[in-house]
Structure formats: structure tokens, C-alpha cells
Symmetry: C2
Subunit: 324 residues, 2 copies
């Protein structure tokens, strides 16, 4: 910056003003400075600027698994709104490990992000309380447990309830359930919705056809094969997320069945699989956008004027794909 100032025969302060679009600079001076900037290929040091200004212009985003399209879409939504507000996003991936999550969050805090959006890996988040004291935090896709923060959720209960109701309306009575760990909020809520849809018709699900604690495509496929091969095989399966649905699709295909499937999260090619498929769909980008709006709102409001904790629920839609 000194070099630019020297070349333009002004002080560093004037260069700073020009680069900041400060109005109080004469046209001629501004032009001289910009010429010098271009000639030297000068680029303002944002690190020094952050230090001086006391804000980095960054927000942190911590997701569990970027390879899952749900999270990459969410990340895109976050980037979109952050960019609108002139902020950058520092992205971290926990690989579903709570201890890594704690480290990454600490690391982001050390880099002075102005706030954080976290998709927590575990079911409770006490380990984030410390960080929360120094900056706002928003949870995405899971509600806070053990801490008090804003969050953006999918309507897990109602989506599961509605999809299950459709299967029941189709005449299915022997439904199976393939779920992620019940300790997770989404797992519990979606199971609750599954159950509620039964109750509304005066039915009760058969626990023998329930498998929970599934964590990836492989475990889901195994569980699906197990249920479908059992004595009281279901005619339809409800799956709590896209990985599990895909495992179930594999199992159904391998066994040569035409079992009806219902599941959370839309996925590509769902429409051309040729299986009867009921999908609870929602806009992952929108979760990211909403979370970012909540976060930036808190950042701009600073510590004063503390609003109560907010909870935004993103609606779901049920989509039906037919057999070929």
C-alpha cells in the first residue's frame, strides 16, 4: 500500500480511502491511485483489514458429510445468501465425528468467523456452548439439545406422517420401517410420524418390521433384505433418509421384488427407477438460506437487543413416482 501511495504521490490513507470507495477523494487523485494500483498489481490485504476492523467478514459452516447431496445443497444455499450480504463462507466437514466437530468449531472461532452454522453430528451439543458465548450460532437440520440457539428444521414429523398415510391409503397394511439412529432428532421425529399415520387409522405398526440405527447404504441394504426375507414380510417400506432409501432400492432390486418404497429426501433418477416410490421432498438450499438469514440477522444486531431463540421449519412435499 505504501508503494502504491508513493507511486501515486499520495499518502497510504488516501489509497485506503480510494479502495474503500470513500466519497471524500477528488476525482483526479482517485484516478492516479487506481492507475498505480493496477500498475503494481496491488491487492488489499484482507487479513490486515480484518484485524483492524475487528470483523473477518466470514461465517463458518460445519456439515457432517459433504458427499451427501443434502449437505452440498445446503452449503450452496448458505453461500448464496452470504454472498448477497458480502460475506464469505468457511466450510468444514466433520465426517460425522463429534470430537472433530468440536475442534473444527474451535478452529473457525480462532479464525474469527462472525458466526457459525452447524449441522451437529451428535444428538446433543453441550460442547458448543463455550463457542456460543463469543458469537451467534445457528443449527441446521437438528434442534438444539443442551444449548439454546436458533435452528432451521425440516418438518420431519409431518413429512413422515403424510408419506406413511399415502401408503396406508393405497391399501398397504404391513409396513416396514428402516430408520437412522433413534437418538437423532430426525430419526425420532420421522418414526413418530410413521406411528402417528397408523394411529390415525386405528392401526399399530408391527415392531418386527422395524429396523433402526442404520447409518449408511450398506447397513440399510442389509436391514432391508433382512426384513423383506423375514416371516412377516412388509408390502411397503418407509425409509428415513436418502441413504437408507437407496439401500432399500438395492435390496428390492436384488430380491427381484416390487415392494413399494417411501422415504425422506428426493434423489436423482428416482423417477426412472421404475419402482413405486413415495418421496418426502424439501428444499435443502432453502434450509441453508434460512439458516444464513437467521445468523446474519444476529450478527448485525450484535450482542445488544437479544431476541428470543427462533425456530424455522421448512415444509415438505410428498412426490409419488410410479412403477414402470
Amino acid at each position: 500500500m505504501r508503494d502504491v501511495a508513493q507511486l501515486a504521490r499520495v499518502s497510504a490513507m488516501t489509497v485506503s480511502r480510494v479502495l474503500k470507495d470513500d466519497p471524500g477523494v477528488s476525482g483526479a487523485t482517485r484516478k492516479r491511485v487506481l492507475t498505480a494500483v493496477k500498475e503494481l498489481g496491488y491487492r488489499r490485504n484482507e487479513t490486515a483489514r480484518s484485524l483492524r476492523l475487528g470483523g473477518s467478514g466470514m461465517i463458518g459452516l460445519v456439515v457432517t458429510n459433504l458427499a451427501n447431496p443434502f449437505y452440498s445443497r445446503l452449503a450452496l444455499g448458505v453461500q448464496e445468501v452470504a454472498a448477497e450480504q458480502g460475506m464469505r463462507v468457511l466450510l468444514s466437514n466433520t465426517a460425522e465425528q463429534t470430537d472433530r466437530e468440536r475442534d473444527l468449531v474451535e478452529d473457525l472461532a480462532s479464525h474469527r468467523v462472525e458466526g457459525m452454522i452447524v449441522v451437529p453430528a451428535g444428538s446433543r451439543q453441550e460442547h458448543l456452548a463455550q463457542t456460543m458465548t463469543s458469537m451467534p450460532m445457528v443449527l441446521a437440520a437438528r434442534p438444539p439439545a443442551g444449548i439454546d440457539t436458533d435452528c432451521v428444521l425440516v418438518d420431519d414429523f409431518d413429512g413422515a406422517r403424510e408419506a406413511t398415510a399415502q401408503l396406508l391409503a393405497d391399501g398397504h397394511r404391513d409396513l416396514g420401517f428402516l430408520g437412522n439412529p433413534p437418538a437423532l432428532y430426525t430419526g425420532a421425529e420421522r418414526f413418530r410420524g410413521f406411528w402417528a399415520a397408523h394411529e390415525e387409522l386405528g392401526l399399530e405398526p408391527d415392531e418386527h418390521r422395524v429396523r433402526r440405527g442404520l447409518v449408511d447404504i450398506a447397513t440399510a441394504e442389509a436391514a432391508a433384505k433382512d426384513v423383506l426375507g423375514g416371516p412377516s414380510a412388509p408390502t411397503a417400506l418407509f425409509c428415513t433418509n436418502n441413504r437408507i432409501t437407496q439401500g432399500a432400492v438395492r435390496a428390492v432390486r436384488r430380491l427381484g421384488l416390487q415392494t413399494a418404497l417411501a422415504g425422506f429426501d428426493n434423489f436423482e433418477l428416482a423417477d426412472v427407477l421404475g419402482l413405486p416410490l413415495t418421496i418426502v421432498s424439501y428444499d435443502a438450499d432453502e434450509i441453508g438460506r434460512q439458516a444464513t438469514r437467521l445468523l446474519i440477522d444476529r450478527i448485525k444486531n450484535g450482542t445488544e437487543n437479544q431476541q428470543p431463540t427462533r425456530r424455522v421449519v421448512v415444509p415438505t412435499t410428498v412426490i409419488r413416482y410410479g412403477a414402470l
Copy 2:
């Protein structure tokens, strides 16, 4: 830091030493400092540290479309190696726009990343030359054009050649080609491989069955329907990337055909689609890992000891899925 120093009754310098694991601090002092750190919830300011040290410990990653699993996997590979080396990754998404790419790259440079990995949106990269003068850069998935940098490529030519050869070996003679824009390196190379496989058998592809310049699932689906509905309909289609293959799958399904498909990039559920599918697969994570290794190597070597430009080629494997 001053507060910690005061509480521990030492100077700020000593606190700095403790936090840096500098050996020249007595055990008793170190313990006092750490206690004070914990009590105050103190966290070192990495921004100030970067400013003083002259290196941010970050590398930039610029991808065209994070929603494409290819890029999210690549990003994970980059994160993995960067983390091993104690560096963080600043991720940006260009949405395939070259002007946005230039801005994002400039922005990363302003934030003093120590190097960058870029998946360029366009076919030439002169606009990156300026930035390259101040830090190392590695291109991923596309070779440099208009600039001179290290790069990591997929074996586009050979993958396309081999997959095409397999279709020909199956007895197909009327192959169609659905390609991304020919101005893109991958588009050109994959088409070249498609052509070469024909030549090796003394055949020549029929240009009437070639459609290029496809950019997403929708355009690919339309093109596939067009070719498959035309007068000299192919019995098999070669697709240059996962979006195009998925468009082709849609078209084939909608038309109720059993056309054999071959394409670049593996995708989930490819094995359960029930169509004859030949996929050129490769490890997207590995591209990210290799690119990061090249980059960090250059960063550590500094400006001196300039090695010549390197080009790493990641191999491909051909996978075959059968009809049901």
C-alpha cells in the same frame, strides 16, 4: 492475551510461547498460563497471527458446481490432504461463470490464501495469470490453456476409448455420442477417445448420431430423445459425463427402450437401474488429494527452486452393469 498474561502474572510474550509449544518455558509457568487461558476462555486470534507470520495457513479451492457430486468428492479429497498438512480450505463455487471465477480467485488472493486449486469454468484461463504471479496454483480436471500451471487430469481419452471399445466388442455398430461443449478439454478428449476406438476397428462414427454442447440433464435428455427418435437411431449411446448419462437414462426410460449406455463418471444406483450400462469410473477424491499434494509442495518450496510444470493423470476403470 494481555488479560491471560495478567492473570498468570507473566508477560504476553510468555503466553504466546506457551500457546505455540515453545520449549523455553518452565513447567510451572506453563501450567499457570494454561490455567488462565482456560479460566478466561481465551482463544488465540488467528487473524492477527496470520498477519504477523505472513501466511494464513489456508488454501483456496474454486469449483464450478458443488451440487455435482464429482466436485464435492474432489473437495473432500482436498480437505483431507490439507488437514494432514495443517492447512484449512476456503471453498468457493463459481456456478460455471468465468467472470465470477475471476472475482472469487481475486477474493481468495486478497484473503492471503497460500495457494489455490481451481476447476476452471471456461476453456482458457488467461484471467488467472495475474493471480498466479503471487501464489502457486493447480488446475484440476482441466489442463491449463493460456497459462502455465501444474494440473491433475483424468485419463479422458483412454477412458472414453476403452468404454467405446467395449460397446463395439459387444457388437454394437451404430453408436451415438452425447457430449459436453467441444471447446472444453474433457469434451474434446472424450470425443477423441470415442473416435479412436472406432478407428482401431477400421470404423468411422456417423456424425448424424453425434450431439455436442450439452450442459445439463435437461439438454442431454432432449438430445437423447432426438437421436433415438431419428432415422438412423443408435443401438448404444456414449455420454461424456454424469449429467449427460442421467439425461440419457431418462430418455431411454421414457421411450421404453433398452438402449445400451456408456458414460463417464459413476453414480449412485447405477447398478440397480436395470439398464445395460458401461461406466468410466475414477476416484474424484484422488484428484483432489493429488492436486493438494502438488500445491502444498509448491507452497513449501517457496519461489526459489522452481520445478518445471507437472501434470498428473488419474487412471480410469471401466465398470459394467447389466440389464435386469
